[in-house]
């Protein structure tokens, strides 16, 4: 019996070839980072040179220095106001659609009949480009934040429901059987197994959802807003101020990346024990 009591993980033996291997890994990692940075840097450089040497028109294509100057000029209450509006819309839309997605997925997991009845609706709603609903949204809730949040929710929620529900249904049948044989109620199966067991899946659904929430927010702002980064982009385009457009896009990039990073870090922390 004793010989099977052993740890699966043995402390690594550090031989010289192992050391070499680890060094190689590290070198590869550094190389990749260097490439990543140099691609970005050369893009910026090339862009600036192209404008300076008049290969392209700085008025139409803007340039890194113009963006930088614009960002510095914008760096007052105004830009923070627009950022705040967009961020709030995006986060609210994301959170509401995630919660709704989880709740509806639970409902559909609970009742197989409901799942079968609603399946065609989900498929059609998933295929429908939700932006098409824009005019209706404006008529129903008016122009402003509420319209944009609604648009974000519409874009996010269907995908959230489908992917979270799939995760629920993919939980190991054997585990469900085990709990049932212990006399577990459906409620217990949900809270002891289905929800905690789907955590990795829910988190990866959130990562997709973050991207969609940005699509929804910016789309919404194009259609029905008086503030926000999407509004700035649209406005900038209409009055031919490409510096404003590009600066807003850059800010948007940074915000979206940060939010994605947040979920990715959360994921890493929460699911370290899942295989």
């Amino acid at each position: 019996m004793k010989k099977f009591i052993q740890r699966k993980k043995i402390a690594p033996l550090v031989s010289s070839s192992q050391k070499k291997y680890l060094q190689q890994l590290k070198r590869n990692k550094i190389q990749i980072i260097i490439w990543q940075i140099s691609i970005f840097a050369s893009f910026i450089l090339l862009w600036e040179i192209a404008v300076r040497l008049r290969w392209i028109d700085g008025f139409l294509f803007s340039s890194p220095t113009r963006v930088f100057n614009m960002a510095r000029r914008l760096l007052d209450d105004r830009i923070f106001f627009h950022m705040g509006v967009t961020l709030l819309e995006c986060i609210l839309g994301f959170l509401i659609s995630t919660v709704l997605g989880i709740l509806i997925a639970i409902g559909l997991w609970w009742s197989q009949k409901a799942r079968k009845i609603l399946e065609p609706y989900l498929i059609v709603l998933n295929a429908l480009p939700k932006v098409a609903l824009g005019p209706m949204i404006i008529v129903w809730v008016g122009i402003g934040m509420q319209a944009i949040i609604l648009m974000t929710i519409l874009i996010c929620v269907i995908v959230a429901i489908i992917s979270i529900l799939n995760g629920f249904l993919n939980i190991d049948e054997g585990k469900v059987l085990l709990l049932k044989s212990m006399g577990a109620t459906k409620f217990q199966i949900l809270f002891r197994l289905i929800l905690p067991g789907s955590l990795p899946n829910i988190l990866s659904a959130l990562k997709v959802n973050i991207g969609l929430a940005w699509v929804g927010t910016i789309m919404g702002e194009y259609l029905a807003s008086r503030a926000g980064l999407g509004y700035l982009i649209l406005y900038g385009g209409q009055v031919f101020r490409m510096d404003l457009v590009v600066t807003s896009i850059v800010i948007l990039c940074v915000l979206a990346a940060l939010m994605y990073l947040g979920v990715a870090i959360l994921e890493k922390k929460l699911i370290k024990n899942y295989k």
Binding site: M1, F4, K8, S181, A184, R192, N273
Partner: protein, 249 residues
């Protein structure tokens, strides 16, 4: 004393393909402290018998009783062990082991101490705070057994519990599980397609026929050796093995 009584059980189930007669007049019992194995051709409804006993499905006719009480709903009288350990990856070994107590709301100090004593006794003392993916296959299977024993079921149901392991581990885990079950004086019903395993581990072996499954014969295994591994080496072992094999073909 009879722990399990399986009386005149027939089972017919319906599917799109039509009616299937899965079991026909199956009768057997398991005594307290006894280890019984069921072997049969694949697809003959071995697992179905376990599902019936744990009340996950209901028989078409006949009665099943555990400790003289008729089985109606899953209530923790039986403890199910499946092909793979089915430990919850997101819970520590300690919490995994408490799962049954938790579900059945039986987390009394006494029961918790019993679960801990099992972990201590069977070599998982230092692994209580570990997660399943940090344990070897054999240890995981043992944790699964302790999880089943912790809520003190009257009968253990083992559904090919070793089939996910490689052959060598399988022999060792089989010994391991056997000795734990015997030393806790638990009653167990094992379902397997591996005749050798059945002969090595069980006090009695029940042989089922093709569908609709009926009992072909019941063998009392009389090999006076302490562990399944030693029984496999006994001269009488191959005799039982041959007989059952012939019967199955």
């Amino acid at each position: 004393m009879k722990i399990l009584n399986f009386e005149n059980i027939s089972l017919i189930y319906n599917s799109l393909k039509g009616e299937t007669h899965a079991l026909k007049d199956v009768n057997f019992s398991v005594n307290k402290g006894e280890f019984v194995a069921i072997v049969g051709p694949s697809g003959c409804g071995k697992t179905t018998i376990l599902s019936l006993i744990s009340a996950l499905i209901k028989p078409t006719s006949g009665t099943i009783s555990i400790a003289e009480k008729t089985v109606t709903t899953p209530n923790g009288d039986t403890g199910y062990m499946l092909q793979s350990d089915k430990l919850f990856e997101w819970l520590t070994i300690e919490k995994n082991v408490m799962l049954g107590l938790d579900i059945q709301k039986k987390k009394s100090i006494e029961n918790i101490e019993y679960a801990h004593s099992l972990l201590d006794k069977y070599g998982l003392k230092d692994f209580k705070k570990h997660y399943p993916n940090q344990l070897s296959g054999g240890m995981r299977q043992r944790a699964a057994l302790i999880r089943t024993l912790a809520f003190k079921p009257k009968l253990l149901l083992l559904d090919e519990p070793f089939s996910a392991l490689d052959f060598q581990t399988r022999l060792a885990v089989c010994d391991d599980v056997y000795s734990i079950i015997k030393s806790e004086n638990a009653s167990a019903l094992l379902v397997t397609h591996d005749i050798a395993e059945a002969v090595a581990i069980a006090d009695r072996v029940i042989v089922l026929s093709h569908r609709p499954a009926t009992i072909k014969s019941i063998y009392s295994i009389e090999i006076n050796k302490e562990t399944p591994l030693l029984k496999r080496e006994d001269t009488k072992f191959s005799g039982y093995f041959e007989k059952i094999l012939k019967e199955l073909n």
